[in-house]
Symmetry: C2
Subunit: 496 residues, 2 copies
């Protein structure tokens, strides 16, 4: 890619300027349609230090309504200070429908730099490349227009630019030690950039532009952008096709096969609860100290006892170190972005525990059954979710998923109890009764979900909850065991 | 306060436990009403290191629905690394209506520590105390229930607890060098806490609880909380009274007195624009380097030319260093919080420029005239806004406010042009015409706003925009001048 890149030929200045003027007018004219058709656009600008990424963006946006675009420039945080998955700064910044976002250096820069700095292993590098491909595909499949540009300058040109910047006291600070390091290691960077681009060129193509000729680069970038927008606007919003990737899946029983009789005596419950909560409290300290992030997902039937189960789990935890995220219907600004966005933004920091009370699995349950998303969308979601979860566990997270299970009779009894107890009435709504009528459809959807998304790294646990106390103890035991294992693993790692 | 605090007497353990049990049940019962009545609750828990703040919160929430509360524990960031105003971590974290939030150490801890560490001057300390009082009052006046608790232990008790924690390898990390420093400086802290509490006890009272007796403290905290909730639920939501504080106000003309004839020739415009943009581009570098935050506010009549004006201002800026925030009607989750929240969350980092396209002044214009808030609310807002803006300039921000002004005839001409030009039609809506009919009411509201909120630190500038080019040059000149002054001031400071 870069190594055999041919420099562009000089063109007549005024002709290029004229073209830019026209392209600017076209882009300004496209704004309204983009808004109306709710097209989200992400333009990734990568490239060499001092290649002129900032000015390129400046020229592209100069005639645009500032309400319509934004520019994001996430810092590359050293690996040792990373509190979130490496894609977090980008995944949480994606534009909403009808908006244009420029990313001034993004996931490419961060992954390549860390590779060259040896902050990440070769294996981790490969995982990140895979995650980048997954992330880009997920955006495309959700109807995002993603454009990737690499602004190229050669070694000599970089030298001159860095020198120019260093000589002016007002721009001197712009040349960072990192930039100088890149310049010294120009050849290694060239190779690493090239490899990265080759490895991530399949779903969304890279476009290399010649940063040496600023005006031409602006023209070419705008041509690409305007052309892609035109194409997207002419068609219906793109919806990705479902696909199947191989994940190491765990065998799960059908819900109908689950024996719901397990129960526990009041006395054993008290004893076990106390013991497990004590242990969990100790483990929370270790988790915090070892900076292990923990994500615990609760799904289950209405009135299955999720709330009470979560409460018993949360009780021994230090309130400063965990969060419970109740997930309701998405708000307008959440609906306006890829569906995983609202979960990305709620991830815990390393060392913290976060509990989701309902999760991204809404996609393949309520959204599927109520028609809140298209068929292809929920069919695609199984794999997208497996990918998302693998990104979390690759980051080092402990990820546990509970299906809190009861049978229909138990649900009816609890609904009726709620109906008849004044303090509990708020817990039961018309919607609960409506959902209950769709039990068979939900059961089929849950069965499919459990089969397709119980991966080795992020397993599902069916928690029998006809006896709520039994369910609480079982969930607690699973959490304690998983955290103990994670703490041990982490211990080994530090000595490797 | 602390120095003459009398320790509580021992009570019978089982009786206290019984009380706690009852209080927990009451609080759990109150949840639904809090949700229905949309009462937002903020509980601030301050206190000595190792006083048991975390466990206190844990005990209070143990029976609560985790969907209903959250616990926030912002880190105290060293002053040199602060990228936002000191109240930012708290102001951006306030709960929404119907939710209960615990702050495990908040603005008190941060202000007192920095004072004792000499990270802030005595003057700055006083400013922060004032800002804290303003912030608390603004929350109360917006109907928030704010409860402030200080958990007290004596020097000896602190010693023992720190020692206990240090001895266990799993809790050792909890004892920070900061905690040990506090213990060594127990007496200075005592004095400083005392002073701070005395200075912030007027609007929202402090409650000191005896951390030595954990169970009693839990009981007392819950009693306070449950009692306060009961009281709040029994009444209508509290709405603060308007009040007038003395701010150094600049004399502003009435809009009707403004001469709108100023214009500029095309040639002069080009020349000036180029010169000013070049200068602004240079200044942006200095601003960034000197870490000066800049907030520029645009308000004005529909079709006055805000968008084009902002574009000319934004063009020379490095896109990585500025943001434009278009402000539309608040979203549900924004409406559910104090009205300044959605502006707090959009503040720039130090060294960054942020441009608000419409602002918090919506409160005293559209919200006032369309009845989106109560009379007391918008009447109170003038002072609240002056306070908020003083907090920003105390932080070191350059804060400029532009009223982009045209007359009714010019507006009509521009509306008609928009109506008749297909590419511009999206810019004009029924609402614009409706607003136009209310010109006299709006004019009166704007006049009042300009009189009451043009402070020395955050002045209003009326920008005559019948000639858009003139308006752009004028706005640019004001920005350039203000930034030059700020850079000079900052230069002096570093040598003081």
């Amino acid at each position: 890619m870069l190594k055999d890149y041919e420099k562009s030929k000089p063109e007549e200045k005024s002709a290029v300027s004229e073209e830019i003027k026209e392209l600017r007018a076209t882009l300004a004219g496209q704004q309204q349609l983009i808004r109306e058709k709710k097209l989200p656009i992400l333009v990734l600008i990568e490239g060499w230090a001092a290649a002129g990424k900032g000015s390129l963006i400046k020229e592209i946006i100069s005639e645009l309504d500032p309400r319509f675009y934004n520019v994001v420039s996430p810092a590359v945080v050293p690996e040792s200070e990373m509190r979130y998955p490496f894609l977090y700064p980008y995944a949480t910044a994606i534009p909403e429908n009808g908006k244009l976002m420029f990313l001034d250096s993004g996931w490419m820069e961060s992954v390549v730099r860390k590779r060259l700095r040896l902050e990440i292993s070769d294996e981790e590098y490969k995982r990140r490349v895979r995650a980048v491909n997954e992330f880009e595909r997920q955006l495309r499949d959700a109807g995002y227009l993603v454009l990737k540009i690499f602004l190229h300058i050669d070694e000599e040109e970089q030298f001159e630019r860095l020198e120019d910047l260093s000589e002016d006291p007002d721009t001197e600070w712009r040349v960072t030690p990192d930039d100088l390091w890149q310049h010294r290691e120009y050849k290694s960077f060239l190779k690493a950039y090239d490899e990265f681009m080759e490895e991530t060129d399949e779903t969304i193509r890279w476009h290399i532009l010649d940063g040496q000729r600023k005006r031409t680069a602006v023209r070419d970038a705008m041509k690409l952008l305007v052309g892609r927008i035109e194409k997207s606007l002419a068609k219906k919003r793109y919806v990705g096709e479902p696909f199947e990737e191989k994940f190491p899946l765990l065998k799960m029983p059908k819900l109908a096969e689950v024996d719901l009789s397990p129960a526990i005596s009041e006395e054993d419950y008290r004893k076990e609860l106390k013991k497990l909560q004590k242990r969990l409290s100790e483990l929370h300290n270790v988790i915090y100290r070892k900076k292990i992030p923990v994500v615990i997902c609760y799904e289950g039937w209405d009135a299955a006892g999720k709330g009470g189960n979560i409460r018993r789990l949360a009780y021994p935890l230090d309130p400063r170190g965990f969060d419970v995220h109740p997930i309701a219907s998405p708000l307008p600004h959440e609906l306006n972005r890829q569906y995983l966005w609202r979960f990305w933004t709620r991830l815990p920091r390393t060392g913290h525990i976060c509990i989701f009370d309902r999760t991204w699995y809404g996609r393949v349950m309520v959204e599927r059954l109520e028609g809140f998303c298209g068929e292809k969308d929920w069919m695609r979601a199984y794999n997208e979710i497996n990918e998302f979860e693998r990104q979390l566990t690759d980051w080092g997270a402990v990820l546990l998923k509970f299906w809190i299970h009861i049978d229909q009779d138990t649900q009816l009894a609890r609904f009726t109890d709620r109906q008849n107890t004044p303090e509990k009435q708020w817990k039961i709504t018309e919607e609960d009764w409506r959902n209950r009528e769709k039990w068979p459809q939900y059961e089929a959807a849950v069965d499919e979900m459990l089969q397709k998304t119980s991966t080795k790294n992020a397993p599902w646990f069916i928690i029998e909850s006809n006896d709520k106390r039994y369910a609480r103890i079982k969930a607690l035991k699973i959490v304690v065991k998983a955290l103990e294992e994670a703490c041990d693993r982490h211990f080994e790692n530090t000595f490797e």
